[in-house]
């Protein structure tokens, strides 16, 4: 047996064709791939995109011989050099294998199980709740990425805050957006500081974006979108709503983005009357969205978005950090 970290193109291709025999694809965002060989024959492989383990497969002739445990030990060690919390999406029939590797299930659908290692969603959310002295009374909630915060988000938040005693604004902690989490969080805190019935909290590592969701389990794009929405909504319902005693979630109506529209429909299905869809705030009859703001920034610069964003976002964009992000947005456009 020989074990290797896959770096060169030919090895990657070999892993890709190996995965193909299991009907799996080596996803583009994979940044770590390990492979196990028996006399030059590839017999097992496991990959990861940052802290999300993906594309795990073992040759049928070599199953139940401890090879997977060997490979996963190597992968887990490698990943913990840079991450302190690991995740995996797997098929329900493989849950037991990952449980035996120490993983714990967060949520399961008919097609997928979402699991974690070195973390515990219940303990994490309870600690977050207790650290902030959040009481047990019923609450409303909003979940936003705010990349960056716009007047559209503010409209949604204010509407939600008016209809409830206590509103929790969850800010997506995942750091894969143009605006870093820390800054998105600060901008929101500043914009909402005069509201004493609003608490701003991070989502921690659990509500993840469509970008990091594995696409290789399912065949068509619509099913993938629905599955991602389902995992996210069930995680929210079974953990966040329970622990924070949330009875309502407010979202913006989604006329354009098909991803978000699928998301809202799935939410409606699972949250029922607990979901409140709010009409978007518009400027010149166009709904305000963070992506509109980003593309305006890209094309026309800072002054063009003044009407679209609150003061805290605008002030941030005038800072050195903000200026760097505007520059990055402009370059990103050129690269593609």
């Amino acid at each position: 047996m020989e074990f290797k970290e896959v770096v060169i193109k030919e090895e990657r291709q070999a892993v890709a064709s190996f995965l193909k025999t299991f009907n799996l694809t080596l996803e583009k965002d994979v940044d770590t791939t390990l492979a196990l060989y028996d006399e030059n024959t590839l017999i097992a492989t496991a990959s990861a995109s940052e802290n999300i383990i993906k594309c795990v497969a073992i040759h049928p002739d070599y199953q139940h011989q401890n090879h997977l445990n060997f490979l996963m030990s190597k992968l887990i060690k490698k990943l913990t050099e840079n991450h302190r919390h690991l995740f995996v999406y797997t098929m329900p029939e493989h849950v037991e294998i990952f449980k035996s590797l120490g993983f714990k299930e967060i949520v399961q659908t008919m097609n997928l199980s979402f699991m974690e290692l070195f973390g515990d969603i219940t303990a994490t959310l309870k600690a977050l709740r207790d650290n902030q002295n959040i009481d047990k009374a019923a609450k409303a909630s909003v979940v936003i990425n705010a990349n960056p915060l716009t007047n559209g988000h503010l409209h949604l938040i204010k509407t939600a805050a008016q209809s409830s005693k206590h509103l929790i604004v969850f800010v997506v902690s995942e750091d894969r957006s143009f605006f870093p989490f820390e800054d998105r969080f600060k901008i929101i805190k500043t914009a909402l500081k005069e509201y004493d019935n609003i608490t701003v909290l991070p989502t921690m590592d659990y509500l993840v974006s469509y970008a990091t969701f594995p696409k290789y389990f399912m065949k068509n794009e619509q099913t993938i979108k629905e599955e991602h929405a389902l995992i996210d909504v069930l995680t929210f319902k079974q953990h966040y709503m329970k622990i924070f005693n949330i009875s309502a979630r407010f979202v913006g109506e989604e006329p354009y983005s098909p991803v978000t529209d699928t998301y809202n429909q799935t939410m409606k299905h699972y949250l029922g009357d607990g979901l409140q869809i709010i009409k978007r705030k518009t400027i010149d009859e166009e709904p305000i969205s963070a992506s509109t703001v980003r593309s305006l920034l890209k094309k026309n610069g800072l002054e063009s978005i003044k009407r679209y964003v609150p003061k805290s976002t605008y002030d941030y964009l005038t800072s050195d950090k903000g200026q760097a992000i505007i520059k990055e947005l402009k370059n990103y456009d050129r690269r593609h």
Binding site: F70, I76, R84, G102, L117
Partner: protein, 88 residues
């Protein structure tokens, strides 16, 4: 960058121990010999953590039927590396 320490493997007769800072003491033990040895392993873990005077820590131990000596060795190595990483 990561302040998590992982030692050991998930192979048969071994165990994997990981340590990371935490606000409280959290111990998570998964073992394939749960019925017979969970309490014994837990006692060993607590004793060693106590001796090392570690209180604010998240410890996760996944055991694949390791012997007592193996578990102790893995724990001690993990603790030493953890202390090294956290005290410069």
């Amino acid at each position: 960058m990561a302040d998590i320490i992982t030692v050991g493997t998930l192979e048969s007769s071994d165990c994997m121990v990981s340590l990371k800072p935490s606000k409280t003491l959290e111990i998570k033990i998964d073992t394939i010999v749960h019925e017979a040895f969970y309490h014994h392993i837990k006692t060993v873990v607590e004793k060693i953590l106590n001796e090392a005077e570690l209180k604010n820590i998240h410890l996760s131990l996944t055991d694949k039927g390791a012997l007592d000596y193996t578990i102790k060795a893995r724990l001690k190595t993990a603790i030493e590396r953890f202390k090294e990483a956290n005290n410069g």
